[in-house]
Symmetry: C2
Subunit: 516 residues, 2 copies
Amino acid sequence: MAERVYFFDTTLRDGEQSPGCSMYLEEKLKMARQLERLNVDVIEAGFPIASEGDFEAVQAVSVQVRKPTIAALARANRLDIERAWEAVKQARKPRIHTFIATSDIHLQYKLRKTRAEVLAQTIEAVKTARNLCEEVEFSAEDATRSDIDYLAEVLTAAIEQGATIINIPDTVGYAVPMEFGPFVRDVIAKVPNRDKAIFSCHCHNDLGLAVANSLAGLLNGCRQVECTINGIGERAGNASLEEIAMAIRTRKNVLPFNSEINTEEISRSSKLLTNLTGSFVQPNKAIVGRNAFAHEAGIHQDGILKNSLTYEIMTPQSVGLSSTTLVMGKHSGRHALRNKFEELGYELSSEELERAYFFFTKLADQKKEVYEEDLVAIIQDGMKIVPDVYRLKFVLSSGGSQAISSAAVKIEKGTDSCVESAVGDGPIHACYKAIDKVTGMPGRLLDYTVNSVTRGKDALGEVFVHVEFENKNYTGKAASVDIIDASARAYINAVNKAYTEKQRSEAKKADKVAES
Amino acid sequence: MAERVYFFDTTLRDGEQSPGCSMYLEEKLKMARQLERLNVDVIEAGFPIASEGDFEAVQAVSVQVRKPTIAALARANRLDIERAWEAVKQARKPRIHTFIATSDIHLQYKLRKTRAEVLAQTIEAVKTARNLCEEVEFSAEDATRSDIDYLAEVLTAAIEQGATIINIPDTVGYAVPMEFGPFVRDVIAKVPNRDKAIFSCHCHNDLGLAVANSLAGLLNGCRQVECTINGIGERAGNASLEEIAMAIRTRKNVLPFNSEINTEEISRSSKLLTNLTGSFVQPNKAIVGRNAFAHEAGIHQDGILKNSLTYEIMTPQSVGLSSTTLVMGKHSGRHALRNKFEELGYELSSEELERAYFFFTKLADQKKEVYEEDLVAIIQDGMKIVPDVYRLKFVLSSGGSQAISSAAVKIEKGTDSCVESAVGDGPIHACYKAIDKVTGMPGRLLDYTVNSVTRGKDALGEVFVHVEFENKNYTGKAASVDIIDASARAYINAVNKAYTEKQRSEAKKADKVAES
C-alpha cells in the first residue's frame, strides 16, 4: 500500500534567502498562488522576525492563500515564536516551525550552550509555540552531525511538548544516502513517542545528493519532505521539489508513495520562479531544464521515433510542457490572446490583459511569428507586480567600438514628464545614468542578464537586472526585440519597486507617529 | 583500505552531443588539456564514426594529450570499431569503447534483434576491437532496464573476448540508488570471470540521481565512474564529475575511495567549459555554482565567522576558488598581467598575451577597477581558437523604443576593408545584418546571452551567441563594457569559425580530387 507523502515547500523561505532570489511582496504572493495550484501541502512563507518585509509576506500569504498549510519560521525563543504566530495566525491552517541546532559543533561555536541548555530551550520553545498554534514543527538544525542519542532525546522532548512534525535537516549538505537512510531509521527508532508525530527531512545539495537523501529519508520513515522549486536555497540549494515528485511518480515500484502534487504544474512553477527572480536553471537541470526532454544524438532520435519509451521515462506532458508550438499573428485579437494565455495556464485580469495585448501587438509588428515562449515572456510585462510610478515614454541610445555612448530618455511620473541624457561606457550604462538623473535615486547594478526567448536575429530579448537602491536589492525585467528598450524598462521596473517600497515604509512611519 | 577509483570523463563525447554544447576542434583540444590538468584517468574524446569533425577531434586529442587514456566510442560493428581505432591509435594509452543495448525494449523497438543476435554481435564486436586495441571497454546500453541474467551473460561473453572494462549504464536515468546499488552488486556476482575486468557505471540525471547512483555503483563493486564537467550531457545530463570527486574527498569515512583527481582544478575546468560552450551552470549548482560557497542568511554568516566548520563542509580553496579578489590598474604592464594570469592558472603564448593585454588596457581605460573575473573574461578574447579572418574595426549602432535601429560596421579581411550598414529590429539585429552583408554568409541566430561579469553599471558584459551557418552550429563570444561592441565581436567570432571550417573542408575535398 503506497503511503502518503507531504510536500513542504520552502521556496519562499530557504529559497528566497539565497543570493539573487529575493522577492518583492507581490512576487511572493504570485509564487505562493502558483504553489497552491501545484498543490503542495505546506508553504513555508518566510522567517517573520528576520525583517518587516518577511513578516508582511507571511501575513499576506496567510490571508490570501487558503488551501495549503502556511508555516512561519522561528528560532527557539519567545520573541521569534510570537512574531511568527502574529504573522501566520490568520492562515486557515497555520504552523509554527521552530528550530535549534543539536550538533556539538553548532552548540560549541555558534550557540555556546551545553546539551542540557539546548534541551531545556527546546522544551520551552515548543511549549510556547504549542500554546499559540495547534500545529508545531520542530527542527533539529545540523541533525546529521549530531550525536544520535542526544538528538533522539531532544526530539522525544519536543514531541512530549506537543510538536506534531519533527524535522531532521542535513543543514550543511553533508550526508550521503547510504548513511542518511539508516541514520533516519535509527533516530526514529530511538524516539519512544514517535507515533505522535510525522517525521520530515530537509536536505541540502552541497554534494549533489539532496534528492537522493530525501528519498532515503522517505524509505526510512519520513513522511514529509522539505524542498524548493528549481532546488534554490542557501549555497548549492535545497532538494528540488520537481525531482522528488517525479521520482515518486515515475518509480512507484521502488518508491511506494503517493503525493498530491499536481505534476502538470511543475514546468509553470519553475518558469514563474525564474521570471520572478531572474535566477536561471541550467539547460541540463533535471525535469525543468530546457534540455531535460530534448534528445539530440542521432541514435536517440531514431530510438525515440521508433518508440518513445526507448529513451523517455517521463512524458513532457506529465510536467506540464505542452508539445505544440503555438503561433499567433498580428491580427489576433484580445479574446484570442486571453484564450491562448488560459491554455498556457495564465489567468489575466482585464488590466493585465490590456498590458499584455499592448506588448503583443508591438511584438507582432516587429516579428514574423509569435511563439508560445514569446507570450510567456510578454506576460511578465503584463503582470501588475508594482505600480508604474515612473513610465518610460522614449529611449534612444547608441554604442559601439571606439564610440562615446550616449542615451536620451523621456520618463513620465504622474502628469510630469522629464527628458534627460547621459554619456556612459556603453549604451546601457548611458541609459541607466540618464534614468538615475530623472529619478534622483541612483541605483547600483548588481547583475545584468539578457537571454533570447526564441531563435532568430529578431527574437525577443528578455532582460533581467538586480539593482541595489539604498542597500536593498530589487529585480527588474522586461522583454523586447530591442535590447536598449528592454534594458531601460527592466531598470525602471526595479526603480518602481524601490520607490513603492520606500513610500510604503514612509507611510507606515507616519502612521506610527500619528498613533503615538 | 581505500580503493582506487578511476574517473572516465565523457565531457567531449556524451557532454558535447547535448544541445548547445558542441565544440569546435580547437575548443575540444583546449578542454582536453584542462582535463589532463584535472588529472582524469580517461578522456572519451568523441564518437569518430559520427562525423568527420568528431574523428579529427579524437585524433588530435590522441596525439596531443598524452597523460590520460584516450577512449573513442563505437557501436558494436566493424565499421564503427575500425573508425574508432583509426582515430585513437596514436594515443599513448588508447581505448576502444564499444556498446550495444541489452534491454528488451531497446532490442524490440530500436535494434529489432533477438537476445541471441545481440549476444553474437557483442562477441564479434569485442573480438574485433580487441584485435586492434589492448584496452577495450564494453557498455551494455540501457543496462538498468535489462533482464539481469541476460545482462550477466552478455557481460561474461564480453570479458571472455577480452573486454577489460565493463560498463553498466543507466542510459535513461531511470535508476534510484537503493535499487541501483544492489543491481550492480547482483550483476557483478553473476559474472563468473568478473576478476578479469574493471566494472564501471555511467549514470544519467533525469531524476536528479546520477551522482547518488554513481556512488551506489562504487559501493557495490564499480571502480570506474563515467561523468562530465558541470554534469553536461543528453537531456538532464550525466553524473557531475565535480560532485562525485568532492563527495569522495569530503566523506572518506562512508566512501572509502581514493581518486587521482586534482580537485583544485575543478573550478577552472568548470569555467573553461562554460566559456567554450556558453552553457551556464545555475548559481546553486553544487560545487561549481556561483553561490555554492556563498553564505547569505544572517544566521549562517554569524556561524561562519565564529567557525567555518559550522556551515562549511569543504573549503573554496579545495576546488580551486581563490579567496582573494585581485585588482589591477591601468598602469600594470604585460609582465604583471602574465604573472596574474599564471596565478589564475592560465599559461599564455606571446600572441595570446598580446591580445589579452590589448583588451586589458582598453578595459582599464573604461573601468575603475579590473577584477579577477574580468581577467578571466578577457582571456577568452585573447584565446587564439580560430584565425581572425574577419576583423571588426568599427561598429556603431543605436536603438530604443519607437526607434528605427541602425548599425554601421567596418570589417577587414586580409588587406580588404569593407563598410556596411543595415537597419533592424533593435541594434543587435541591425548590427548582425550589416555583418552578414560584409561576409555574404547569412547566419541564423539560435541563442544570444549577455551576462555581467562583475558588479556596477560599468561592468564588463560577456556575450555568447550560437549561430547556424549552412546547417552547422557555431558559438561565438566576446567581452566588452559596450554591449554593441561585444555583441558584434561575438558574432564575428562565430563567423570566423564557420569560415575556417569551410575552408578546411574545401581544402580536403581538393586534396581528394587531386589524389584521385
